[in-house]
Symmetry: C3
Subunit: 169 residues, 3 copies
């Protein structure tokens, strides 16, 4: 069914997957649809359900596309690239746990923080979220790509526009 991987091929796969995730973050923060399309598998599934709700307080910041699982490389690349129009986003990851299952399948857990700075005139100045991505990967057309992504939250902070800093008028 699947080819056994050598130790070095396994390590190379882990590094490739880390770079795929780095490019995903760069695609999101750069609103780069072409780059996002490359990192997503054709049958990618993005599950952001509940990812705009603070698990500590139950406060929900949004009721948009995050309510349903999103499917398909073209659709998801377009959705993610356009979902943050006017928003300055910064996504940072901490150290991941990546497990290579076989030569073309893998899974991983990524701790993350995302910071969304909303445009002038928004009721909310900023959202800062902490959580984990649980992902699967597939090697498709010679490259590792994200096949599924589920985002869970530890905590979310919402900063009202009234707290906008004096240097940001």
């Amino acid at each position: 069914m699947t080819a056994a991987l050598s130790q070095v091929d396994r390590l190379a796969a882990i590094e490739e997957i880390k770079i795929v995730k780095a490019r995903y973050f760069r695609g999101v923060d750069g609103k780069d649809e072409a780059l996002l399309r490359e990192v997503f598998a054709d049958d990618v599934e993005l599950d952001y359900r509940g990812a705009a709700t603070d698990p500590v307080t139950g406060f929900n910041a949004s009721a948009d596309a995050t309510e349903e699982i999103q499917r398909g490389g073209d659709h998801c690349a377009r959705l993610v690239a356009n979902s943050l129009t006017g928003v300055v986003s910064v996504h940072h990851a901490s150290v991941p746990e990546i497990e290579i299952i076989d030569a073309s399948h893998a899974r991983g857990i990524w701790p993350m923080v995302d910071r969304l700075l909303f445009p002038q005139g928004s009721a909310m100045r900023e959202m800062i979220g902490y959580g984990h991505y649980r992902e699967t990967y597939i090697k498709e057309r010679g490259q590792w790509r994200i096949l599924s992504m589920k985002l869970t939250r530890l905590r979310m902070d919402f900063v009202p526009a009234a707290e906008r800093s004096s240097t940001e008028v």
Copy 2:
């Protein structure tokens, strides 16, 4: 005394140790005693002395278990899992320096930020700390585990409860 490691075995050991640290963080933030027990060596030593004091101002936030070195896998797993009851914690690492000494010994330096959100009714809303872990690792029962951990601080921020955000009632 010790077997020389091949280049590929050395790289595999580095990646395994990164995953051990990732699981440590996931164990801390998930209050998962079983997971913490796995990442700790039987003779682990945790040195959090001074880790609740801001080196910039000298402000000390706590005078608890961090005053003594903690020893032993069972004790430390239980202590860490229970030390943050009611607290939402987020620990993130930056890029580490891991050095493999031989087939079963290694050391590493990890930059980190930890964010502790205290429960309603606490005098302090939040503590955000920046610093480094200096660690040693041992391969025990076929797995790399944390043998010692010393946490030092660059800076700590303490946020009084009065600054609790309006979205966090």
Copy 3:
């Protein structure tokens, strides 16, 4: 012209470069000129132009050495080590994209956040910046070193001294 690298040598080079960057950050935050000198190539070029300006608001926090490209290992190590006197800095990276070009050349992209806490009496309490380093590396005297570094920004936050927290008197 250049020797082809084996897969394992390529992976080892990537890990070495990550450690070089980790040491760069530790050198900056520790104001350690000797450590910085080691991670810089003799002909290093640091391009921090525009790195003190928030691209969101256009606010510019500083008009100092960041106005010109800085050149040379000795000069840059001294400059970086001394540029943050009295400032508590914390630099954290997220997951990088490192590409090995040949046995002695590489390039990389690093997402980062830097936090500068200014001393008492400064008009500004704190600067928090988000952006990317785009770097090249060269293997010189047997070690990978940073040959060029260009810092771009996604966002910068400036916190006036008036917002200094009550615990930091």
